[in-house]
């Protein structure tokens, strides 16, 4: 099916060329679409899904326990569909948590792991590698399911509202906010389409395709990593891993995406 589709997309490319000079822009766009389509087959993120599933089951930490009893919101050990409903409010921590902050909670509680060094470590470090693989695995277990993020609890609505305010927050020498690039419909940076995140469709384009394997760096990126690099390019200081800043912006994107189908883990340029 994939290759059928690819061929169809390539036909579009050819057709765009046939139209002639008018369409340099269109042919570039179609060519890029064909490229992205071809990438979908054989996503190296699958390698991380497998290793994440192993890490999930592996005993570790001072308590020599696995994460198999971790409650991601649907009850202890329930992974299927959990990612499509995150971030969410958790009673035990009295906090709204995204996947990665919740995994840290589970590592602390179930395995007795001190997570402070993990929070501090860079995304390329071995300490973060487990979380990246786990996010590939957990997100894969929501593939094909609809985003269902609750904004019913006051803390969930608050996190969403804080995220929206952050989205428009302009600062630094470049006067950049998330909204600078993601606040209009139909724009792109270089050749990358920029989803309009305040809309449901735009938010879903981003939210339902991360975590993702990035071919440009040959790396698997978790959502936290994605957000971290957005703020880097915004010329902001660094968002602290799993801090409320990161969860707020995730709540904004996820809350806007409700009803869209998860395609995780994705593959990106």
């Amino acid at each position: 099916m994939r290759s059928q589709h690819l061929k169809a997309t390539l036909l579009i490319t050819a057709a765009a060329f046939a139209v002639g000079a008018q369409a340099q822009q269109d042919s570039t766009t179609a060519g890029i679409e064909a490229y992205r389509e071809a990438l979908q087959d054989g996503n190296p993120a699958d390698l991380y899904v497998d290793s994440g599933a192993e890490i999930w089951k592996k005993k570790a930490g001072p308590k020599d326990a696995s994460l198999e009893k971790c409650d991601l919101g649907l009850g202890p050990g329930k992974v299927k569909g959990a990612y499509a409903q995150l971030p969410r409010y958790f009673k035990d921590t009295n906090k709204v948590q995204d996947l990665e902050s919740r995994l840290l909670t589970c590592m602390e509680k179930l395995q007795g792991v001190d997570t402070a060094p993990i929070i501090k470590a860079g995304f390329n470090s071995p300490q973060k590698a487990d979380l990246v693989a786990l996010s590939a695995y957990v997100s894969s277990e929501s593939k094909g399911m609809k985003v269902k993020v609750s904004l019913a609890h006051p803390k969930e609505k608050q996190m969403y509202d804080l995220g929206r305010r952050l989205f428009y927050y302009e600062a630094g020498q470049y006067d950049f906010a998330c909204a600078t690039c993601h606040g209009q419909e139909g724009k792109r940076i270089r050749l990358q389409d920029l989803p309009y995140i305040p809309s449901a469709e735009g938010a879903a384009k981003g939210w339902t395709t991360w975590p993702a394997y990035r071919v440009s760096s040959g790396q698997m990126w978790s959502m936290q990593w994605r957000i971290n690099d957005c703020f880097r390019q915004q010329r902001f200081p660094e968002p602290i891993y799993a801090s409320d800043v990161t969860i707020a912006i995730s709540s904004f994107m996820a809350g806007n995406s409700n009803g869209a189908v998860m395609q995780t883990p994705g593959i990106k340029r």
């Binding site: 589709h5 169809a8 997309t9 579009i12 765009a16 822009q25 269109d26 766009t29 179609a30 904004l151 006051p154 608050q158 996190m159 969403y160 509202d161 804080l162 929206r164 305010r165 952050l166 428009y168 927050y169 302009e170 600062a171 630094g172 020498q173 470049y174 006067d175 950049f176 906010a177 600078t180 209009q184 419909e185 139909g186 724009k187 792109r188 940076i189 270089r190 050749l191 920029l194 305040p198 449901a200 469709e201 879903a204 703020f231 880097r232 010329r235 902001f236 200081p237 660094e238 968002p239 602290i240 801090s243 409320d244 800043v245 990161t246 809350g255 806007n256 409700n258 009803g259 869209a260």
Partner: protein, 221 residues
């Protein structure tokens, strides 16, 4: 703009093929009074920002402090509201006052260098080092030369910029000012204030002006 529309049509065609797109529910609307919702007032928001960011490399937490222009433009509801008309006028004048012209009066440099600056997206992130030349980031948002296919569309196309406008003294000065501080002419412009914020040097701006206005530049060919 026609070509944006065309792009959108092409994309939505492909999107329609990719997924049976069902309409999604509209996200919650922003409060009309310009507030952010009961839980996202100033105190809570500031506390989140302070605890959520850390200095890394040259990107220090001081950067989170907003100047009045940034503060006004950070609220899509009130940025253009009636009651802020006066404030907008004041801020625009303040931005205009930042524009400095070179002492030697030379506003046009080398377009070839300008092209390199326009291509570069480097500068001022926490992975950049202090003292390194910053890039102009121009292609991120603008079409400039015909040859570079990888250009953004957040800003208008600058292809034939000089050919369409000529390079009278007035146009050269206007162009310099636009690069130096885009907020002097359009307060909540999405374009960085490259000169006023110290992103680009005078010499770099000179080269960018040449890229746009030099008749020899590929922009005008």
């Amino acid at each position: 703009m026609t070509f944006n529309k065309k792009t959108t049509v092409a994309l939505s065609l492909v999107a329609a093929m990719t997924a049976a797109g069902t309409a999604l529910a509209a996200p919650p609307a922003l409060p009309k009074d310009g507030s952010w919702g009961p839980g996202a007032g100033n105190a809570t928001f500031d506390a989140m920002m302070q605890s959520g960011f850390q200095t890394r490399g040259i990107a220090n937490v001081e950067r989170l402090k907003q100047d009045p222009t940034q503060e006004l433009c950070s609220n899509p509801v009130t940025a253009y509201s009636e009651k802020n008309a006066k404030l907008r006028e004041q801020l625009q004048a303040a931005n205009e006052a930042t524009i400095k012209y070179p002492a030697d009066g030379k506003l046009m440099g080398d377009w070839k260098n300008g092209e390199k600056i326009a291509q570069s997206g480097k500068g001022l992130t926490w992975s950049d080092k202090a003292g390194e030349a910053n890039g102009g980031n121009c292609y991120n948002c603008h079409q400039i030369t015909k040859k570079e296919l990888s250009y953004g569309t957040i800003g208008p196309s600058l292809y034939n910029y000089g050919k369409l406008r000529g390079n009278s003294e007035e146009i050269v000065k206007y162009t310099w000012g636009k690069i130096y501080n885009a907020k002097a002419t359009n307060l909540c412009s999405l374009m960085p204030r490259a000169g006023a914020m110290g992103v680009l040097t005078e010499a770099q701006i000179r080269d960018l002006v040449a890229l746009l206005l030099d008749p020899e530049s590929p922009v005008n060919q």
